[in-house]
Amino acid sequence: MAHPAEAEDRTPDGTEDPWMGGRFVDPDLICLNGDGESALRGSRCDRCAAITFPTQSSCPRCAATEMSIHPLPRHGVLWTYTIQRFRPKTPYDGPADFEAYPVGYVNLGDEVLVESRLSAPPDRAPRIGEEMELIFTPYTRDADGDTVRTFAFRAVAEDGGEKP
């Protein structure tokens, strides 16, 4: 599979490209899917089809050691959430000027639930069951002043209702 760093800059579905402007927090977390879009890079057990994120070299369900790279679905449904209200201690390296951020688990097509920062409208809490989509978003700057991006999920509908 082509490494995303080798692919031309693109903004599929209008989302921000993980590689554009600065760097991505850990290149091993992302890959391109079959449609050439950036996706989270999971692994899938060749024997029992269990899916993990990030990749693992052996299966946590059946202990097989044959695992293949598996790009995860880019859309899902919020399973649970909280809001991080205080600035975490190190190794958190977000900005000193802290702003609360929501965190949740998003069920990606019943393949796997991924823990992620959420990008919710600031004036309302996330809602269990709402549709979410993958984005790549800046969360801090490194020592050189470069933007560092990570993955996040945002509500598809601003008001939390069903997408028309």
Binding site: V25, D26, D28, L29, G42, A50, I51, T52, F53, P54, P60, R61, W79, T80, Y81, T82, I83, Q84, R85, F86, P88, K89, T90, P91, Y92, D93, G94, Y101, V103, G104, Y105, N107, D110, E111, V112, L113, V114, E115, S116, R117, A125, I128, Y139, T140, T150
Partner: protein, 380 residues
Amino acid sequence: MSVSVVGIGMHPFGRTPGVSGRQQGIIATRAALADAGVEWKDIQFAVGGSISAGYADTVVNELGLTGTPFVNVSNGCATGASALMVAVSMIDSGQADLCVAIGFDKHDPGAFNADPESVGLGSWYGSTGLMLTTQFFGMKIQRYLHDHDLPVSLLAKVAAKAFRNGALNHNAWRRTPLSEHDIAAAPMVSDPLTKYMFCSPGEGAVALVLASAKKAATLASRPVVLRSVVQRTRRYGSFEVFSPWLAPERADSPTVEAAAACFEDAGIGPADVDVAQIQDTEAGAEIMHMGETGLCAAGEEEKLITLGHTEIHGPSPINTDGGCIANGEPIGASGLRQVYENVLQLRGDAGARQVGGGPRVAFTHVYGSPGVSACTLLVR
């Protein structure tokens, strides 16, 4: 299993400036030995743990260099219960008649700053702000309230009980009762949990002297019998702290398996329990663990809590010493604190917080990172 708790000792929980965690462990051990009417030189095997306050086995420098074998254990929040398991194995296998289990700790203020690589995760998990136990507890109770249609107001009720019970416990850290209103209105930490719904990392120490039935019969103390102690780790699909991903199908938490096996080993059912100490890292954990341990059916917690069943004088008292919320959580000592409280309750020595009716069966439960649980049953 025929192991008795013949001595208990505790150094008060909270903050004790100038006294190291290790020193608190020594103070607790001396108190436990005195309670049992034995001396350190009589101890044939020792086991203990601390996460942030050094190696437990260094207490021998002050207790006495008697040559006794001493094993250090480190199992997160299950450290105390794991120490008990080791001591029980030594007694059950006939290798020792008199053992000590020690737990102590002294943590820095504030939430733990966990190291991703120590649990096999990439550094991104910590640097992007996902590696917080507080987030896990917020997310788990958020989903539990949703699944069982429970009101968020239950959380403040549970925390208020913890502070009320802590006020009756001279060894507790938080001894000032707080109203449900003040708890609910406090700053939010991890929604839906406010500052006063969480326990805090703290300091403290507990030591227990354990004896074989034969040895216990020769001691003047009032033995309480440890009928079972069981520890379990997580299964595929359970929802655990520090999980970047979860399987789509949910499995029971390790609490469910540890509790079920503990009851089965002891030949005792949850309905027989007269007093229970269960992991209340935050108020939601007490609610979820009531169901997971089998003390009630999942979803039934609202009824029991609002009817006052879990109060000291209710029919199913839970966390009579104020739990982790009022005592704080010095990790190495926390599980042994629960056993200490249950021994007091079974002896009838719990003073102002003594449960009525002459309790005969007492249960403990711990849960912690990265998905480990341990339970004990004590009987009189």
